[in-house]
C-alpha cells in the first residue's frame, strides 16, 4: 500500500467540522485538548482544597494534645485529603489531563477513539468531587482513604457519599482506560510501530490497561460497601458470615495497581523531559518501555503486601513478598536508565529538567523504602505508622506530583501557547524540593520510633520533630503559590511559545501551540523512533518550517 492509500484508510483520516458555540467548544467539548484543560482546572481546584486540608492536619499536629481540631474533624480531614489527592488530583491529572492532552498528539491522531465517551468520562468527575467535599455537610467519611470496614460501615452518612463519589471516578477511569487503549492500538499515525512510540505513550498504554482492568474491581468493592451501609447486606460483617478482610483484598486488588496508575504516567513524563533537555537519545528505550509493561503485570500480584498484619496465613504472605520485591527490578532499570541518559548530554537547566531531576532523587528514595515494606518481618514493625505516611508521600508526592510539575512546565507552552516564567519556575522547584524533603523525611524516623498514622495527637517526645514537619509543610504549601502566580502571570505576560520552544522531537512539537482542533492538517508518517538527537526528524507530512525548530530550541 502506498502512503496515500494508508492515510485514506486510517481511522482519523477525516477532519470533522469545527465545533461552533461556547457550549460545544468549552463545556461539552469533544476535543481531547479542551477536555484535558477541563481536567487540569478541576483537579487544580481540588488540589488546593485537599492541600489546605493537609495544612489543617499539620496545624493540629504542631503540638501534642492540640485542640485546634477535634478528633472527629481531624479524621474527616485526613480522609478527604487522601481520597481527593488520589482520586480527584493525581489520577485525573495524569490520565485525564496529560493523557488527554499529549497522548493523541504524540501518536499523530486527530483525537481519541471515542471523543463522546471522553466527554462523558470528564463530566463524571466534577459531580464526584462535589459529592466528596459535600459529604462534610452530612459528616464526612472518617476511616481514611482506604475506608476499612467495620469503621466505614459504622461511620457517618457522608461515607455513603464517599462511596458514590469514588464510584463515579471509578467509572470515569474505566471508560478512559478502554478509550485510551483503543486509541493507542488503532489510531497511531502510519509508520508508528510500537517501538517507535514515545515513552509517554507506552506509559499511557499500560496505565490505560490498568485503569480498564483494575478499576472495575474498585467499583464492585464500593457498590458492595454501599449496599452494606444502606441495605445492610452483610458482605463485610463477621457476625453474619461476612469478613472485614474481604474489603481489604478487594480494595487493594484495585489500589495497588492504582499506585502504578498514579506513577507510570509520571515515569512517561520524565522519559520525555529528559531526552529533550539533555539533547541525547533516552538510554535504554526498550528497557524503559518493557519495564512499564512488567510493572503493570506484576502490579496485579502484589496487593496483599498491604495486609501483612491482617492475619494472612504465612504461606500466602511469601508469594506476595516475592512478587513485591520483583517490582524493584524493573523500577531500578528505569531509574538507572534515566541517570545514564544524563551522561554525555548537553544539559539545559530548564524548570522541567529540574523537576525531573527532583523526581529522580525523591522517587528513588521512595522506591527503596518500598522494598523495606516488602519484607514481611520489617513491614510488621513499620505497618500503620508514619513510616508508611513518609513512604507513600515520597512515591506519590515525590514521584507523581514532581512528575506532574515537570510535565506542566514542559507542556504548558504547548497547551496555552505561552511560556511560564523560568525564574519563578526555578524558585518554585527549589522551595518545593527542600520543603518536601524537610516535611516527609523526618516522618520515617517518627514512624520507626513509634508514632502511628492517622492520629490527632502523639507522644510528647515527638513534639520537636512534628513541629519541624508542620513548619516545612506550611512552606511546601506556600511554594504552590509561586506556581499559581506564574500560571496566572503567563496568561498576560508569558512570552509566546511558538510550536517548539524546547527543541523536542516528538510529534506534539510538530504542530502550532496551542494546536488547532484537528491537530494535524495532514496525518504525519513516521519512519523511525523519536529520540535520535542530531539526526534528521523521522516524520513526513510535517511543515518544514516547524520541523526546523527542533534544532533551534529557544531555552
Amino acid at each position: 500500500m502506498s502512503t496515500t492509500e494508508l492515510l485514506d484508510v486510517h481511522p482519523s483520516s477525516r477532519i470533522h467540522p469545527a465545533p461552533q458555540g461556547f457550549i460545544s467548544k468549552y463545556v461539552f467539548s469533544l476535543d481531547h485538548k479542551v477536555i484535558a484543560v477541563q481536567y487540569f482546572i478541576t483537579s487544580g481546584l481540588f488540589f488546593v482544597l485537599a492541600g489546605l486540608l493537609a495544612e489543617l492536619l499539620r496545624v493540629q499536629l504542631t503540638q501534642p494534645h492540640n485542640t485546634f481540631l477535634d478528633s472527629a474533624t481531624f479524621n474527616e480531614a485526613f480522609t478527604v485529603h487522601g481520597s481527593s489527592m488520589v482520586w480527584l488530583v493525581t489520577i485525573p491529572v495524569l490520565t485525564g489531563g496529560f493523557g488527554n492532552l499529549i497522548m493523541p498528539l504524540q501518536i499523530g491522531a486527530r483525537d481519541v477513539a471515542y471523543p463522546w465517551l471522553n466527554m462523558v468520562s470528564f463530566w463524571l468527575f466534577p459531580p464526584a468531587g462535589i459529592l466528596l467535599f459535600g459529604s462534610f455537610l452530612l459528616g464526612a467519611p472518617q476511616a481514611g482513604w482506604t475506608e476499612y470496614p467495620p469503621v466505614s460501615v459504622l461511620a457517618s452518612p457522608g461515607t455513603s457519599m464517599w462511596c458514590a463519589a469514588i464510584f463515579l471516578i471509578g467509572i470515569s477511569s474505566t471508560i478512559t482506560g478502554i478509550n485510551f487503549l483503543v486509541t493507542i492500538i488503532k489510531m497511531r499515525a502510519p509508520g508508528m510501530t510500537w517501538t517507535r512510540m514515545p515513552l509517554f505513550v507506552w506509559a499511557s498504554a499500560v496505565t490505560a490497561f490498568l485503569n480498564f482492568i483494575a478499576t472495575a474491581n474498585l467499583s464492585i468493592s464500593l457498590a458492595v460497601l454501599f449496599m452494606q451501609r444502606v441495605f445492610h447486606v452483610p458482605f463485610y460483617d463477621p457476625t453474619r458470615g461476612g469478613s472485614p478482610i474481604l474489603w481489604q483484598h478487594m480494595f487493594w486488588f484495585y489500589s495497588h495497581p492504582a499506585v502504578y496508575i498514579m506513577i507510570l504516567p509520571a515515569f512517561g513524563i520524565i522519559s520525555e523531559v529528559l531526552p529533550t533537555m539533555v539533547r541525547r537519545p533516552i538510554f535504554g528505550y526498550k528497557a524503559i518501555a518493557y519495564s512499564s509493561v512488567a510493572i503493570g503485570l506484576v502490579s496485579f500480584m502484589v496487593w496483599a503486601h498491604h495486609m501483612f498484619t491482617s492475619g494472612l496465613a504465612q504461606w500466602i504472605q511469601l508469594p506476595f513478598m516475592i512478587m513485591t520485591m520483583i517490582v524493584a527490578i524493573p523500577t531500578g532499570v528505569k531509574v538507572f536508565s534515566w541517570v545514564a541518559t544524563l551522561w554525555g548530554g548537553r544539559i539545559r537547566f530548564t524548570t522541567p529538567l529540574l523537576f525531573a531531576l527532583g523526581f529522580l532523587s525523591t522517587f528513588t528514595f521512595g522506591g527503596i523504602t518500598g522494598v523495606f515494606l516488602a519484607s514481611v518481618p520489617v513491614d510488621v514493625h513499620e505497618h500503620g505508622t508514619y513510616f508508611i505516611v513518609a513512604h507513600l508521600h515520597y512515591v506519590l508526592f515525590g514521584g507523581s506530583i514532581f512528575g506532574m510539575f515537570a510535565g506542566l512546565y514542559y507542556w504548558w507552552p504547548k497547551m496555552t501557547g505561552r511560556m511560564l516564567n523560568e525564574t519563578l519556575g526555578k524558585w518554585h522547584f527549589w522551595v518545593m524540593f527542600v520543603a518536601f524533603n524537610a516535611t516527609f523525611l523526618p516522618m520515617h524516623w517518627l514512624g520507626l520510633l513509634g508514632m502511628p498514622r492517622r492520629v490527632a495527637t502523639y507522644d510528647p517526645v515527638f513534639h520537636g520533630t512534628n513541629l519541624f514537619v508542620s513548619i516545612s509543610a506550611f512552606v511546601l504549601g506556600a511554594s504552590m503559590l509561586i506556581f499559581a502566580f506564574n500560571a496566572l502571570r503567563s496568561a498576560r505576560f508569558g512570552k509566546p511559545a511558538g510550536p517548539n520552544p524546547w527543541g523536542g522531537r516528538t510529534l506534539e512539537w510538530m504542530i502550532p501551540s496551542p494546536p488547532p482542533y484537528y491537530n494535524f492538517k495532514e496525518l504525519p508518517v513516521v519512519v523511525s523512533g523519536p529520540y535520535d538527537y542530531g539526526k534528521p526528524l523521522p516524520y513526513r507530512n510535517i511543515d518544514p518550517a516547524i520541523m526546523q525548530l527542533a534544532d533551534a530550541p529557544a531555552y
Binding site: N75, Y148, V151, D237, T239, T309, V380, V455, Y458, G503
Partner: protein, 362 residues
Amino acid sequence: MSKRPEEFRLDAGFWKVTGVLGIISALLMIGVAVFPIDSVLREASSVSTSIDFLFRFMAFFSVPIIVFVNGYIIYFAVRYRRRKDEPIASVGSPIHDHRALENTWMVVPTILMVVLGVLSYLAIPQYYLRGKDSAATLEAIGHTFYFEFRYPGLSHSVDEDLYLPVGVPVTIDLTSAEADEHLAVIHSFWVPEFRVKQDMIPGMIVPIHFTPTLIGKYDLICTEFCGVGHSEMRGHVLVVSRADFDAWYAGQQKSAAAKGARTIKLAAGNVSSGQAIFSQKCTACHNAAPFDQRKVGPGLENLFHDPAHPNLVDGKPANAADVAWILEHGFQGSMGAMPNQQANGLSSKDIADLIAYLQTLK
C-alpha cells in the same frame, strides 16, 4: 561499527567521582553497620533483634544506591551541562544502550532481592506460628478504645496494662469484640520495642508469639484506625521479673475473689456510680424525667421502656447497645449536639455504669 567520539568515553573525571561516591558510601555503610539501634529504640523481645538485623541489612545496601544515584545525577548534571559557548542546539552522546551495563543493573538488584527474600523468609516463623514452647497463651481483645487482656486461670480480665514475665515465651491470641458484636472494629496491637504488630480483627483470632527479653514499661499502641478515639487508644506492657509477675498474678487472683468477676458486659455496670456520672455529666442537657421534660435533649426516665418512643433519636431500637453507641459517638440532631465519649470524658466503664443506671429509671 563507527568509533565513539573521544569525549563520550568514561574519562578520568568519572572514575574520580565514582571513587569519591564509593568512599562516601563505604563510610555511611560502616555507620549503618555499627548504628546502635538498640539505644534509640530498645530491642525488648526475642524477635526485635532479627527484625533489626533485616532492617540494617536493607539500609546497608540502600546507602550505596542512594549515594550513587544522587551523586551521579549531580555530577552528570554539572559535568554535561551545556556551556555558555556551545550552540544551544548542540546534541549529546548518541549512545542508546549498553547491554553489559543494563544486565549488571538487573542482575545485582535481583541477587540482593533473592538474599533479602531468603533472610525475610527465615525470620517470619519466629512470631507468626503458635509457639510450641509457649509457657502460656493469653488473650488480648481490642475494644473501642482500650485493650483488654485475659490470663489463663484468672476469672476476670485486665484492662490497659499487660503484665508479662521476662524471658518466658508467650503466645497472645488477638481479636476484637464489643458488647454489641456489630460495633466491633479492627484494631492493631503494636509494641514498638518488641517489633511486634498484629491486627485485632472481629470474628478472627490471630496468634502472635514472642519472648519479652527486657524488663521495662512499654507503650502498647493501636495502629489500625478504629474510630474517633483511635488517637488516644494506648495501653502499656509491663515486662517484670518472674517473681514480680507471680506476685502480681497472685494479687489478681485474690482481688478477683474479693471483687467478684468483672466482665466488660454492659449489663455489669454499676447503678450508683452511673447515677453519680449522670448528675455530673448529663444533667446539663437531660432530665431524669419523662420524655417530654426536655432541656437540650429529651428526658431520659423512660429511655428503655417508653412505648410512645420505642426508638432512639438515630432510629435504632432503644436497647443498651444502641444507647452505648450514642454515648460513644455523640449525636448531632435538630435539638442540638451531644458530645461523644471523648469529649464527655467517659471511659467504657462509665458508659456501662450509666446504662445500668438508666435502665433502673422507670
